[in-house]
């Protein structure tokens, strides 16, 4: 392959990396040589890098991450355990869908985070309100996506399995579940973002630990490089989880590639 062909194939990642690197370099150069850096207002990559290293190798970043993760994982798991069965029943039985859908849609449309202060006042400060908040926010994508997945099951395949002697449990295991799985993974992808919002709201508002708290504290004390560094860490985690799930979707459902938007 010549150079030009190789370029076209890898065009996207090359351009992507080039623009990110370019931005970082430009950022550093501008604030080192062109514009004086007001440390109370902005920062530059070299300082962020230093802060990052410090936080990784000695700071409280790890413990903060662990604390936030614990709450996140608990709430997220709860959302899965509750959301998927509800969604499955909704997808399978029309009547249940008719009954629950308007209520759930109204809940989904309303900013449930608005209840956060109330929750914290009720449940106190600490792990419990965070877990509950994450659960509240993350459960809906699971419910709706599972329902959509079950509803979208190809009736033909149900008939096929029945015609070969499949019973009810075979239908669930061999058709409905594999068919719904990609939808559930897509729901998980969306739920992650919403769950992180839950953690952040919980921690910005009334917490004394956790990565959300750390970020807001850095802001209050004008520790900008540390703040950027923490934000960067969270961004990396969010992207890793989201893109990881996206790859998982493709693996689980190669026949549906090209059918999903972001």
């Amino acid at each position: 392959m010549g150079f030009k062909e190789k370029y076209y194939e890898y065009q996207r990642p090359i351009l992507g990396m080039a623009s990110v690197v370019g931005l970082v370099i430009l950022w550093e150069l501008v604030f080192t040589y062109l514009i004086p850096l007001n440390p109370f207002f902005f920062t530059k990559p070299s300082l962020i890098a230093v802060a990052f290293r410090e936080q990784i190798f000695g700071g409280s970043l790890w413990s903060d991450l662990v604390i936030s993760s614990k709450a996140f994982i608990s709430g997220f798991s709860l959302a899965i355990i509750v959301g998927i069965p509800i969604g499955a029943v909704m997808g399978w039985r029309r009547r249940v869908e008719y009954t629950l859908d308007p209520f759930l849609t109204a809940l989904y449309a309303s900013p449930l985070v608005a209840l956060a202060p109330l929750l914290i006042v009720v449940l106190g400060v600490g792990l419990v309100p965070k877990v509950f908040l994450v659960f509240l926010l993350a459960v809906f994508p699971f419910i709706f996506n599972t329902a959509a997945g079950v509803r979208a099951t190809d009736r033909l395949l149900i008939n096929v399995v029945r015609s070969f002697g499949g019973r009810e449990k075979d239908l669930y295991l061999k058709v409905i579940f594999p068919s719904t799985l990609p939808y559930i993974v897509a729901g998980a992808r969306i739920a992650i973002g919403r769950g992180i919002v839950g953690i952040l709201v919980g921690e910005f508002y009334a917490a004394s630990e956790g990565i959300g708290f750390a970020i807001s504290r850095f802001g209050d004390t004008y520790m900008l490089p540390e703040m950027f560094s923490a934000i960067l860490v969270l961004m990396i985690v969010a992207v890793a989880l989201t893109e990881g799930l996206r790859k998982l979707e493709v693996v689980l459902a190669p026949w549906r590639v090209g059918q999903e938007a972001r």
């Binding site: 996207r12 008719y98 309303s110 209840l115 956060a116 992207v239 938007a261």
Partner: protein, 266 residues
């Protein structure tokens, strides 16, 4: 009797759904009077009727209007900015592979991260006035619009583009005649998502570091154990969400009839 059955059959969906909500509201209203609550809970428990009363009171005493006004401005300006930036950018990214490649990592990264995380930064930069909220709303609403426009443009049928090109159209005409109409369903879906995100942005933006607005009203009411005010605020947002997204949804379903793949899940 038969007419009752046939009425039910026709409206089954609304009856079941509406009935369920009604049931919940009634339960919420009457359960506290039937069951005595643990003391901690009763401190700030409230019932639908109380919420309605409080709402009325707030309106009459002109306590809620200024908050509403501020939140509305933040919402509208942020959303307008998101549309103004997101649509053209989405179009360009969809048509130009170069721009797409260059911006892709940023779009992916910022889309995956909850916008809320930047709030302390924006407060640091913009203070606790309306601008930090507007920026949060802007970023929140930007991505659905951007990404959906982008998908709409990218997914245009190659065959149609070639057909129009074969009649001698230039890039601009191709855009106008084929790409834009094809993208409209996607854009509408993006708009619906953006509205939801924008509302969310207003709420959370005003929780932390604000002195006015409905979100602030909710947050301060919560700390003062005024649960009824909290629910007034939540209800207002819920109502706004439904009010704003329902017409968009109607338009969306009309438009996605011929482009079903545009109406993807959330």
């Amino acid at each position: 009797m038969n007419t009752l059955v046939s009425v039910y059959r026709e409206r089954e969906q609304t009856i079941l759904g509406g009935g369920f909500i009604l049931l919940l509201i009634l339960a919420w209203e009457f359960i506290p009077s039937l069951v005595s609550l643990p003391r901690g809970l009763s401190l700030f428990f409230t019932t639908p009727l109380t919420v309605v009363q409080t709402f009325y009171q707030l309106v009459v005493e002109n306590k809620i209007q200024s908050h509403f006004y501020i939140s509305a401005i933040e919402f509208a300006v942020g959303l307008a900015m998101a549309i103004a930036v997101g649509l053209p950018l989405g179009l360009v990214m969809g048509r130009s592979r170069t721009v797409d490649g260059m911006l892709d990592p940023f779009v992916t990264a910022f889309n995956a991260t909850p916008r809320l995380i930047f709030l302390p930064l924006f407060i640091l930069w913009l203070g606790i006035g309306i601008w930090s909220k507007i920026v949060i709303v802007f970023i929140g609403a930007l991505f659905p619009l951007l990404i959906n426009t982008y998908e709409g443009v990218k997914n245009v049928d190659r065959v149609l583009v070639n057909v129009v090109r074969s009649f001698g159209a230039n890039e601009w005409q191709v855009m106008k005649v084929v790409v834009l109409p094809n993208s409209v369903p996607y854009i509408i879906v993006g708009l619906r998502l953006a509205i939801g995100r924008a509302l969310l942005g207003v709420v959370v933006g005003e929780f932390f570091g604000a002195s006015k607005g409905l979100g602030f009203m909710i947050a301060s009411a919560a700390t003062n154990y005024k649960a009824d005010v909290v629910f007034v605020g939540v209800a207002i947002f819920m109502g706004l969400a439904l009010l704003l997204t329902l017409p968009v949804k109607k338009i969306e379903s009309k438009l996605t009839r011929w482009r079903p793949e545009a109406a993807k899940t959330f």
